[in-house]
Symmetry: C2
Subunit: 549 residues, 2 copies
Amino acid sequence: MATAKSALRRENKAKRLQRVGKLARGKFVSAANVAQVLKRVIEPGDILCLEGDNQKQADFLANQLASLDRKDLSDIHLVMSCITLPAHIQLFKKGMIRQVDFCYAGPQGTAVADLVKAKKFPVGAIHTYNELYARYYIDLTPRVALIAAAQADRKGNLFLAANTEETPAIVEPTAFSDGIVFAQVNEIVDKLPRIDIPADQVDLVVQAPYPMHLQALFTRDPAAITDVQVLMAMVALRGIYEKYGVQSLNHGVGFNTAAIELLLPTYGERLGLKGKICKYWMVNPLPTMIPAIESGWVESVFAVGGEVGMERYTAAHSDVFFTGRDGSFHSNRAMGQLAGHYGIDMFIGASLQIDINGNSSTVSKNRITGFGGAPNMGCQPAGRRHPTESWLKVGAEANPGPGSPPGRKLVVQMVETFQSGRVPTFVEELDAQDPSIRKALHGVAPVMIYGDDVTHVVTEEGIANLAACRSIAERQAAIRSVAGYTPVGLKRRKRDTEELRRRGIVQFPEDVGVSPREASRSLLAAQDIKGLVRWSNGLYDPPPQFVDW
Amino acid sequence: MATAKSALRRENKAKRLQRVGKLARGKFVSAANVAQVLKRVIEPGDILCLEGDNQKQADFLANQLASLDRKDLSDIHLVMSCITLPAHIQLFKKGMIRQVDFCYAGPQGTAVADLVKAKKFPVGAIHTYNELYARYYIDLTPRVALIAAAQADRKGNLFLAANTEETPAIVEPTAFSDGIVFAQVNEIVDKLPRIDIPADQVDLVVQAPYPMHLQALFTRDPAAITDVQVLMAMVALRGIYEKYGVQSLNHGVGFNTAAIELLLPTYGERLGLKGKICKYWMVNPLPTMIPAIESGWVESVFAVGGEVGMERYTAAHSDVFFTGRDGSFHSNRAMGQLAGHYGIDMFIGASLQIDINGNSSTVSKNRITGFGGAPNMGCQPAGRRHPTESWLKVGAEANPGPGSPPGRKLVVQMVETFQSGRVPTFVEELDAQDPSIRKALHGVAPVMIYGDDVTHVVTEEGIANLAACRSIAERQAAIRSVAGYTPVGLKRRKRDTEELRRRGIVQFPEDVGVSPREASRSLLAAQDIKGLVRWSNGLYDPPPQFVDW
């Protein structure tokens, strides 16, 4: 009955920090010493977490890591949300990575596909954000975490500003398992506006020579919204938002949902929907929501991250947004994703491909992206127990069996039948099912949202209510009915479509009271970025790439 | 285009704190002034959150609240995890509560049922923990939160000790929406062992005249485990743990799973399963896990809460448990529940009633309890994308359709066919379906786990593999086959059972290589609490009610 384990991990941590020695002054490392320090604190075999989601990046630490070589660092099990920087790709090219577990590879999707082909991308699995964070507490607990913060004080307390995002979900499991937390910060100050991460969870701090990278990911220029997108938005508003009385929701990052946001104060107001729908949001501070907020539609917005340029606007609207005692915006990716999973009536998003069974994916043969938050929010949360009007209404249509909950969350895919370049959105089989991709992923196709979870598909043709379908065959016929002139759509049988339309499972715009002739950009509350700035009373500061005046 | 909202909430908060005036010195309130302060900071119409889960209670603040009257405080929308104290019941009896949204009412289940009958329990909904926390960020954001901490320092920073539990999930949405956070603490000290909640998220602090209530909820005396429970544990180990190669899991609080924990170092070792199963746990520091930990079975344990008496043991085993830099245990209910939702192969728990469709509930006509974490962990997490051996194997048996993920989480109900007092566990219809209960809950029956989510039912008769059933009728036959001499079991048709057994959907102990004659308490690694203390090398300090020596 010997004590099997005691404090080996703790002793090991102390040894690593001892090796840093004079390369740090207390917790503080100078930028010039970072590469050396990384070499000394990371050991072969480590689970290493590199902070970086679709917005915020610990890019200085990533670049320093990528400056090392295989002889300095190898056999690393990398865990990180988003593979988005060239530095991340370098780690694989140099052969430093034994395994990677991640969520998303947006801008590096092509590079990742190339690495897969070259057998240099030893992937464990692709995750949804909260699933990966969950594993940080179970079987993927980091030994070292490289993170990013806005500011540190002299004790090593951290301020995360508008971009709390995933930092706490990385720091907590690392710090409380005797792992090493190394933070890059934009600046070191005497007094922080507020403390987001207490100093005793932080081991090392470097003031980076350049501020951390922040992607303005959620900014959509109203000028780029088309009449067709306005039509789809009107159809969704009448056929889904109004029909089900959607109170709480998440919007994706696309132009389709931006169009809906910009129709609320105009078309939505005309329909008498103000105060009846769209009150509670789990969504980043989208600039295209400014007109709806200014018009009094929105009660509350919780966010997984910030958005560049929305700092002054959110601070001035602390009744709608979550802000700290210092007055500035607060986000939290893990808790926001939890809120988006369990706390809302509807998830609505877009996808690159949808198959005849309603499965969707953003993976193509030459581009492996991944998931982000979509699977977590765009699924039926089987643990949910609280009813809402919307949840019960969709549930009743779905006619649940004797072992099922009575309600369903709205999970809506809103897509044009063709992507740019006349590439069909609807396909018989997803590219994600390609044998070479499945092989790289232990036999599992990277499906973003499964058809069983989807309740509605909206296209410029109309709405297919998948929840109300009574069989797989019926679901396929409903999808074909709104798939337009794609090969999938052309295979529809007129009789099936008519029957589904008679039963209200397929609805064309006129069936929900929308005349396509009405659908015009002129209905949008703002026509361009300048219009959003005007609505914001000058509080929105669009990033330079969006400013042409 | 007027600015609709600005900082009304913030101004309102300032006014409330002004009203406190000299009743506080800075943030600090004396115990004698608490009732007066509560009267001044809470307003009619408020969403009020009272901290209290199945372990930790802000009981001093709850008692002070209950000392007020309807004229002091009314029209309150109460949100809280667990209605467990007499003080909570008082709030309803006094008519102070307009609506309540909660999770669980363990010890007060009968009192809650009485309140329902008296129409004095205006319930919104019953939730699973993380679902309720999710709504704190969406449509149930507290204006005032009354919480509990171990210690505060002079600035109002808080130390939560072993019981972090749900505190951050309450404080974050309240503090960042200009709500008021009022903490009771056991003591005020000059220097905290570590900071769990930074002071700028805390408005008011009181040193309570008695330490916060902590329930020793997860302590099971091995002496109370029966031979029948040992048999079920052996069947589960061979027929589920071994068969699927379960790496990561959650155990409930019952004696059935305690038996499994105590069989690992004996029976499990004999089967050669060490290192092959049960490595990663999301579970509180259960004393009955001590022998398995000492025998080197366990890599890691993350917990939603602490357990009274396990403080020294967990601190000495920081390689297995999560501990702070100060060396003491760390928990987190929201993140632990997230880990248990997305990060594990198996949830196994028990229930008071299971119907023929596999739905389960702990509600009876005279006792409304609720859910806690079971729906969240005991469901199919539709957002999960990472495969494990176990997940894929169950998935293959379930023969998923073209719109479903390829894997399934193991969700196991482990129950004896009869509860104490010869009350059958298996019923044709759950008490939770009773019209009077449904009526009180907006038409929704409080089902804890739905049959569609359950993969296996284990009883002393054997295993029913519900995941492998191909129809509702087959599922019902499988459940009847293991329901023994209950009315549900007696309705089984011998031919059905034989056919299901032939297909491996029903397995009796001998089918998984277990001889009932072998099943004996003598196989347990510890026979009683004293045995656990011995295994712990004297580091486990059982609470007085468990000590008879």
